[in-house]
């Protein structure tokens, strides 16, 4: 059994941070708790943030999409704002996290804060320029999701609370596709790639390529993005695609483990990047697939 001394419940983000700092001993935030019950992290108490008012999903007047940290993954699957944003890419990524019962409780914030290199929600959120909102006892801070991850299982948070992430309204019309490569249909990802392209006037105005499970933290393949951005769509020939994908594969830093070799993971970044860009450029509406082939 998970050896825990105390279960604290916070009713606001500020209270959560205060409860975390109150001590004594080591604490952790808990929302869905799926990772916590899996790993039984050594801590004396937890602070439950399910009632801290950070579970909402909303579209701001400016068109930004705000995902409360305690929103469940199933909430992301089901929510109409999320389903409509960037072709529903976030909903689709969420639908591939764990299984249905896990998604009922696991949260987007938990997925990000656990900060696994393979965090399922990270690539698609990185590819849509997500911003993190972080609460302290008396202030809030925001920073790009790219700066949120510090290392495997490490974030910038320390004892502060992630209250949510926001996706800028201008990304709502981007075309986004992600693919999670797995051993079986429901699995931890071996490699995940998410690509989003902002296209206008027959040109790729913006390009984002985000990678999961192939570096110490979820990352963007910035060099590959640069190659793509500003290109006329018609100029993206198979040769160009191959180059972009090869560059992306060169940017990652995968590990060998019992799930896959670094060599395989790197090649899969290459394959998936190429396929995803192709799919977006020849978009027929249903632009996502995932899981085992």
């Amino acid at each position: 059994m998970w050896n825990l001394q105390e279960y604290r419940i916070a009713s606001s983000p500020a209270e959560a941070v205060a409860l975390m700092r109150k001590g004594p001993g080591k604490g952790a935030y808990i929302a869905g708790g799926t990772d916590m019950l899996l790993e039984h992290p050594a801590c004396d108490f937890v602070v439950d943030v399910n009632n801290a008012g950070i579970g909402d999903i909303a579209r701001t007047p400016g068109g930004d999409l705000f995902l409360g940290a305690a929103a469940t993954l199933q909430g992301l699957v089901d929510n109409n704002f999320v389903r409509e944003f960037a072709g529903g890419a976030i909903s689709k990524s969420a639908s591939q996290c764990g299984n249905r019962p896990v998604r009922s409780t696991a949260t987007v914030g938990g997925n990000l804060c656990n900060a696994l290199p393979s965090a399922d929600m990270a690539p698609v959120l990185l590819a849509l320029d997500a911003t993190c909102y972080i609460a302290d006892e008396d202030c809030q801070e925001s920073l790009p999701l790219t700066d949120f991850f510090v290392g495997p299982r490490m974030t910038v948070l320390e004892d502060r609370l992630l209250v949510g992430v926001a996706l800028p309204g201008e990304c709502a019309g981007w075309r986004c596709a992600a693919h999670k490569l797995t051993r079986t249909a429901e699995d931890i990802s071996l490699v995940q790639v998410a690509v989003s392209l902002g296209m206008d006037d027959g040109k790729i105005q913006e390009a984002r390529i985000a990678l999961g499970a192939v570096s110490p933290v979820p990352m963007r393949a910035v060099l590959a993005e640069t190659m793509l951005a500003g290109q006329e769509i018609t100029a993206v020939t198979p040769d160009v695609l191959r180059d972009v994908a090869t560059i992306a594969a060169g940017e990652c830093d995968p590990l060998d483990d019992h799930r896959a070799s670094a060599e395989y993971r790197r090649d899969m970044v290459n394959v998936l990047t190429r396929r995803l860009i192709t799919r977006i450029l020849t978009d027929d509406g249903d632009n996502m697939e995932g899981g085992a082939a």
Partner: protein, 763 residues
């Protein structure tokens, strides 16, 4: 037939679907204690001392035992008929740990949490020893001995090498025959360590009752063997032990072995309190049992016309730290598989070695899935080299009706066997129907340029019980209302044997199925049975039920005959009625009342049944795969199984056996593998990383029952539970080869392995 062959409602299905408390753990006793096992962190070490002082100081920790606390009685935990063909190389708790995860000490406490906390406080002094985790090294290294104890007890070469068991049997002269062949093909095949992964973990609860008897409520496949083993290990008379098997949440061979029952027994006797021990999933994947990993070398000699002249199979297998089933699983790898192509010259040789890896044992198929993978892949390879169609090569050589199994006489259950002749076979029909269903010979178009489609097939045969060894008993007793109590030792572990046996009983007595009240697997209340393994229950235990029911029918005819003034043989029992000549008839209830209150006899019989035959069920299985040539991912689009199990007593339950076996075989083919590091530590002891098939992983399945009439089986039945797990892996791997030209000699054929194969191919 009125009941046999019908899809009656499975006898326990509603209570299971309602989640009623019917499993071992759905039960508590006052004052119950909880046990937890302290496991070795070293692959090979002497246990010099266990200091449990700090653990015992925790309030609520009742007892800690280690090897000094239990008498060293060498035994096997294999759960086989006595005398067991497995070495007596195991102690309840021994002075040496032989794998990472081996038992070192056991705690009992007032709660699971307390027992877990106590584990952390136990200090063990080890003397680490050099370890062997590679089976080739274990085979040649006789400096490091995993079992150095002298051998009175059935280890093949105890004290000299690490070989736990070996077999070397030959029919004809393979060496000489190979010299005459037009083509000789030799290949190595590598089989992984996989785990049964029944969803209910191993669990036992034991207590000492008011008569000072040890009661063991446990999730087992072998209640009677278990009683015998516990009597031996605990040194108490069998009369003082009662084993009760409630519903079991899957076994697949893994619960043939005694895995937890000895510990709850010892601790209940020591503490005088009920003791419960349940494995975690991690323990299941470390300390239960695996299908033996093997390397198989196949050599086949053929003539240009496709006649197989000689077959040689050499198996090197890893039994892990203990040798239960070492001899017989590996024996099966040849015995159950090679007869498919009864060449005049067959050589089967195997060496099964101890290593400092976790333990291998029984798992559905019992050696045959390994052998079938090697043989059926090899047949495709031979066909390719010969330039002959792989289906044609199989059709030309496979075993036919009336053929004698060339190996059975030489190779039985760890000893000489009995001659086996094929008295029933639907194999040709299965092949024909299977080919039709999969669209054999019709190439399918893939949906994208990076995808390639392919078809593969495999043939398989198994047995129906162990000839001359397996037997079971059944008791049938008639009640006032015409219902009967059927008591069997046979062990329903979810496969539905209670239902099938009740069907046979009802059919034989001519009564409705719902008039049969079955009680199974309670060592105090039911006759003996060897248990649920070796595909024996329908064929062997069913034979006992039919005999016992027929005898009761005879008793009833015996009292009705004089009453009706007719020959007893003239009375017919059907549709719940007894009908005699001249319009005489009674309902079964009336017959019962007459027998009990007029004739004053209890119509009742106990019968035993064994068989010197073990008729093979046959399967022809076909896979259609799509391979992603860039990622290496394999998608099995369709899977067809055509299976001859004689008469299907309950067709949809037979289909269920086949479909479940296909899902397990699919995992064996594509993603299941317990991974060890160089020290024998399991790297993936959970369902996060030991993947078993989910609802999205299984292919579209077509299941065809090819009915035959087995003359030695009850109502013509043969076995069905194991044969369909043999073919999926070779059929899928053959289909991968058909799709992309890459032969996967090692399974599982993970995406990365296929990707690697594709890269090597293009190099």
């Amino acid at each position: 037939m009125k009941v046999v062959g019908k899809n009656v409602t499975k006898i326990d299905a509603f209570k299971l679907a309602r989640g009623e408390p019917v499993f071992t753990d759905d039960f508590t006793r006052d004052g119950m204690l909880y046990a937890k096992v302290l496991r070795s962190p070293h692959p090979h070490a002497r246990i010099l001392n266990v200091d449990a002082g700090a653990a015992l100081k925790l309030e609520g920790v009742v007892d800690v035992i280690w090897h000094r606390d239990v008498k060293p009685i060498p035994h096997t935990r294999a759960g086989q008929s006595y005398p067991e063909p497995s070495p007596y190389d195991t102690l309840i708790l021994g002075p040496k740990a032989r794998f990472i995860g081996d038992r070192v000490a056991v705690v009992v406490a007032e709660s699971v949490a307390l027992a877990e906390a106590a584990l952390d406080k136990i200090v063990v002094e080890y003397e680490e020893l050099p370890a062997l985790t590679d089976m080739d090294e274990a085979f040649t290294n006789s400096e490091i001995l995993i079992h150095e104890e002298p051998d009175p007890q059935g280890i093949s070469e105890a004290g000299k090498t690490n070989i736990a068991a070996r077999i070397d049997k030959e029919v004809g002269d393979v060496d000489a025959a190979l010299k005459t062949c037009d083509l000789v093909v030799t290949r190595d095949y590598h089989l992984p360590r996989v785990q049964a992964s029944h969803i209910e973990p191993h669990i036992s609860i034991a207590w000492v009752d008011e008569d000072q008897r040890l009661i063991v409520r446990t999730s087992t496949q072998v209640p009677f063997h278990l009683r015998r083993m516990l009597a031996q290990i605990l040194e108490i008379p069998e009369a003082r032990i009662r084993v009760i098997k409630p519903r079991v949440g899957g076994g697949f061979g893994d619960k043939q072995e005694l895995v937890v029952e000895d510990l709850v027994g010892v601790l209940a006797l020591r503490t005088g309190r009920p003791v419960r021990l349940e494995f975690t999933r991690e323990e299941e994947l470390i300390a239960a049992r695996y299908r033996h990993p093997q390397r198989i070398t196949m050599t086949t000699g053929v003539m240009k016309d496709g006649t197989i002249v000689a077959n040689r199979m050499y198996v090197l297998a890893d039994t892990g730290a203990y040798g239960s089933h070492a001899l017989t699983v590996q024996g099966n790898t040849g015995q159950k598989v090679l007869p498919m192509y009864p060449a005049a010259n067959i050589h089967f040789k195997m060496d099964c070695v101890y290593t400092n890896n976790p333990i291998s044992g029984a798992f559905r198929g019992y050696g045959a899935p390994q052998g079938c993978f090697a043989l059926e892949c090899h047949i495709d390879e031979v066909a390719r080299e010969l330039g002959m169609d792989r289906l044609e090569l199989r059709l030309k050589n496979h075993i036919k009706l009336g053929d004698t199994d060339p190996l059975s006489a030489k190779l039985g259950e760890g000893k000489e066997g009995l001659v086996r002749v094929v008295n029933s076979t639907g194999l040709d029909k299965a092949i024909e129907l299977g080919c039709e269903a999969i669209g054999w010979g019709h190439e399918k178009e893939p949906s994208a340029t990076h995808l390639k489609r392919g078809l593969g097939m495999a043939l398989a045969m198994q047995g129906s019980g162990i000839a001359g060894v397996d037997w079971g008993g059944a008791t049938v007793k008639l009640n006032d209302d015409g219902s009967v109590n059927l008591a069997v030792g046979a062990t329903d572990i979810g496969q539905g044997s209670d239902t099938v046996l009740a069907q046979m009983c009802a059919e034989e007595l001519g009564i409705p199925y719902d008039k049969v009240i079955i009680l199974s697997s309670d060592t105090d209340l039911t006759p003996f049975d060897v248990g649920a393994y070796a595909s024996s229950t329908t064929y062997i235990s069913g034979g006992a039920v039919v005999k016992a029911a027929a005898e009761v029918r005879g008793q009833l005819a015996g009292v009705l005959g004089p009453h009706w003034e007719c020959e007893p043989d003239a009375i017919v029992f059907a549709d719940g009625m007894a009908t005699g000549p001249a319009g005489k008839s009674m309902t079964m209830g009336e017959v019962a009342l007459f027998a009990l209150y007029q004739a004053m006899i209890q119509p009742m019989a106990t019968a035993s049944h064994m068989s010197n035959d073990s008729p093979p069920p046959f399967a022809a299985q076909f896979a259609e795969v799509e391979v992603d040539t860039e990622t290496g991912q394999v998608h099995v689009r369709r899977f067809v199984s055509a299976v001859d199990c004689g008469t299907p007593i309950h067709p949809i339950m037979v289909e269920g056996q086949i479909e479940g076996a296909v899902a397990q075989g699919l995992g064996y083919a594509l993603f299941e593998e317990v991974l060890l590091d160089r020290t024998g530590r399991v790297l993936n002891p959970n369902f996060l990383d030991y993947k078993i098939a989910s609802s999205l992983d299984v292919p579209d399945m077509v299941t065809i029952l090819v009915e035959t009439d087995e003359p030695t089986g009850p109502y013509g039945a043969k076995a069905a539970g194991e044969v369909p797990i043999d073919g999926p892996a070779p059929a899928i791997v053959n289909a991968i080869c058909d799709a992309v030209g890459v032969r996967m000699y090692r399974i599982p054929a993970t995406a990365e392995r296929v990707w690697r194969g594709l890269k090597e191919e293009t190099r």
